[in-house]
Subunit: 494 residues, 2 copies
């Protein structure tokens, strides 16, 4: 027998997709995952291990869900109380999804947006997580070689989700200040593509933003709606962090914006949703395409066959999300807990002189370490990042992996751990900053507050103009993320 | 607001995939599903409704699984006994899958093949049902426009699964007798494609065959292995009905065949598996790509992100399938029940002069109604089929939807209903055949046994040579199927 991948050349044997690097997993960036994977922190077994702050997971409110589960055994087909439904559910494979599930998800989508807008269960299309939902939408909207605009910084796995198998290209829009997409930047990116003979089929945004943890304002959203309507291209709003908005300003969904714009062509608007972040259940793979375009609904639904949600899970979640009292209470408590965690983290980081971009949503902060870079370059950012991983032993995510134009920013996730682990990470950061300050002091002939001085210099060098109002009043620190939630490097947790 | 799909032309707005008919659902064939959907049989509420014999579902052994569930509450994360695992499982989204799940599936694959061959958990790639698994494999193996050969008759939804979004073409191989793929036919199809400048990347077979319910013999499999090895193309064996073999000859998996052929290039061999048929759980969406090609395993695993199995379901099935005593007993009993059902159906059909192709596997029979056609054409087959649906009120599936070359064959599923429903369907068939015979007698001036005479004439007209040995000794009747298991027309069963 010849060894696998031996004598024969897979390049000729396999597809272009299988032999190119479109998945994007082989980048340097994943070194952080490897570091965590090889040496994961555990309070007693491995207290010096790497703390995972690269994973945008919401683990703060599982106690509420577990309590509900035990009180509602009929919601599961695997209990004495629910097993009479086992057969019906195990054989259920209709790609429309369980009607009760779609209704419950539509209602939850409304609740997660403050019930200011309602969603039609008939427009809910199931998919395998937001990953599957985003790909499905691209298969519906664009042909290979056509493009979508995306404001940077953006979710690293968009390249995989939107483009790997569909052949759709992503064109970043450089935003002039954080999270503010201007009409000029949008037009410029659009026209630039046109000049290169690339057909732009649409624009995709995350709202709340991943990685920034901020929300889009009404005027910007209205501008985007008018822009795509004028150009007759699509607007895809990825709103998977909708229920994580823990402070004002509130989330404005694109659904609210177009509700009052009857002149626009509704066929152009699509929302991506998921229960992975708002309910903290990425393992259950509940993704949703919500489209105002009938043909997209029909086609995406047919594509559901490739990534349907397990009927066992549909059934259980339909019951959970149909419980109004539970859902209202869950959303309130979850926001409160996220707010507390965010406040604690940013406040403690501020005490050691680390600021974060002012944010009010998401499961992460966007931490500013520009003052710790020797030069404002990607190389220096990655150098610092390696120190954070290998010496501070915290896996955070460098801004360059989010296609951020400015070096020195890091995403730090804060909701995938308990209070004690947060405090361990903060202690490590304090030690690190003290050491850096000491070294800096030594290098600067005992000049006072060298880092602040250095910081100001960096600010001048920066191409991006920052408004200090945009920073947390009580500045803040570390933030990682999960660019590829299904990283091969995440060990099984059982 | 303009109405959806109104003024604007979706053909320009959407992708080619969304606006062509590659999904194949809009064919006449689905009228049967509509008929069932509009008027489903129920013993008390709708005793004259349509009986669904178009769905290859295995409902005969759910009592065993339900019994196990109730006895093993710790296997579910939604029970008092299992809820302590809820958080770990809900957040588990590693695209490798739970190690315990992969091990259990690998072991089950071995058991379903009589433990004559073992499977490596490291080569198990999860996917959203066989639908997702087949598509994933095509994305790995072929570029758009490249082709796979497939012996006919074949599973109708292969066109969707293998080709809709991947752009891969299917080229049918016309087999000279049922389920027997000859080297000549294979070569001829391959060379024909070459002459048309189509690059053939592989061959896909179902073993056991859907729709025939038969298994491939060792010599044929060996010939196929040698053929693909010579041509350096892939062999994909869809073995999703592996554990439904209820009579001899036993299933020979391609895994067994290549085990003793060390000279062949293992990179060319891939198995598709699923728990939808063998365990009867299509709703849980457990599909598997098992590849001997390392690069395919790595790439397909990355693609798992688009259709991961819910971690709730992985966890539960890992426990179920790890229970050796249960699995052995389940497989034995399930086969026994399928055998009994098959025997009952074919015997009763034989009594009214209806034969089925001799089969020993699957959840269906391949029913021969050639003698009831006025002419051996597809049009006549569909005419008869409409009578069966509208008058006999049974939804079976016409051979033409399986790309069968010969008119007059129908697939009749028998495992998706209880004994009473089978008997109602048999009673309807008896009445139908009696009426047909009576009409035929009247038309034939009282000639005795007109149908048998007509049948012999039809046999002569047939392009295919049938060996009588291949028919059931106790011939048989009706058989439907599920070409698109996730038909939009299947109502929710809750």
């Amino acid at each position: 027998m010849e060894s696998s991948n031996g004598v024969f050349n897979n390049e000729q044997l396999l597809s272009t997709i299988a032999t190119n690097n479109g998945h994007g997993e082989d980048v340097e960036y994943f070194d952080g995952w490897k570091a965590y994977d090889n040496d994961p922190y555990h309070p007693s077994n491995n207290p010096n291990g790497v703390i995972q702050m690269g994973l945008a997971e919401n683990q703060l409110s599982f106690d509420l869900i577990k309590e509900w589960m035990v009180k509602n055994p009929q919601a599961s087909i695997c209990t004495h109380e629910g097993v009479n439904k086992f057969t019906d559910i195990a054989i259920f494979q209709d790609y429309h999804g369980l009607p009760k599930f779609r209704s419950a998800v539509a209602k939850f989508m409304g609740k997660a947006r403050g019930d200011r807008v309602s969603f039609d269960p008939e427009r809910i299309v199931m998919s395998g997580g937001a990953t599957g939902a985003n790909e499905t939408l691209m298969f519906c909207l664009a042909d290979p070689g056509e493009a979508f605009l995306v404001p940077s910084p953006y979710y690293p796995a968009f390249n995989r989700d939107l483009g790997w198998r569909t052949g759709v290209k992503l064109i970043p829009i450089t935003c002039e200040s954080w999270n503010k997409i201007t009409e000029e930047a949008l037009k410029s990116a659009y026209e630039d593509a046109q000049n290169k003979k690339i057909r732009v089929k649409g624009l995709i945004i995350t709202n709340p933003s991943n990685p920034l943890g901020t929300v889009q304002d009404f005027d910007t959203l209205k501008m985007l709606v008018n822009f795509v309507n004028d150009k007759r291209i699509h607007l895809v709003c990825d709103e998977i962090f909708a229920a994580t908005v823990f402070n004002s300003p509130r989330l404005i969904s694109v659904a609210e914006v177009i509700k009052d714009m009857p002149h626009v062509n509704y066929d152009l608007f699509h929302i991506i949703y998921s229960l992975s972040k708002d309910l903290g259940m990425p393992g259950f793979r509940v993704g949703v395409v919500y489209s105002y375009n009938d043909r997209v609904v029909t086609t995406a639904r047919k594509m559901s066959s490739f990534g349907l949600v397990s009927s066992q899970t549909q059934y259980m979640l339909a019951s959970l999300l149909s419980d109004d009292v539970f859902v209202t209470s869950y959303l309130d408590k979850s926001r409160e807990r996220l707010s507390q965690r965010h406040k604690h983290l940013t406040r403690e980081l501020a005490k050691v002189g680390i600021q974060c971009l002012k944010s009010n949503a998401g499961l992460f902060v966007w931490m500013d370490l520009r003052h710790l870079l020797k030069k404002p370059t990607k190389e220096e950012e990655l150098k610092l990042w390696k120190v954070i991983i290998n010496d501070v032993k915290i896996n955070v995510s460098p801004g360059s992996s989010f296609h951020c134009n400015e070096a020195g920013w890091f995403r730090v996730c804060f909701a995938n751990m308990d209070d004690e682990t947060v405090d361990v990470s903060l202690q490590r950061i304090r030690t690190f900053v003290r050491r850096e300050n000491k070294e800096s002091n030594n290098n600067n002939d005992n000049t006072q507050k060298p880092n602040l001085k250095k910081r100001k210099e960096m600010m001048k060098l920066s191409r991006l103009s920052f408004n200090s109002r945009r920073f947390e009043e009580t500045p803040n620190l570390l933030s990682p993320h999960s660019p590829i939630p299904q990283s091969p490097l995440v060990k099984a947790r059982t």
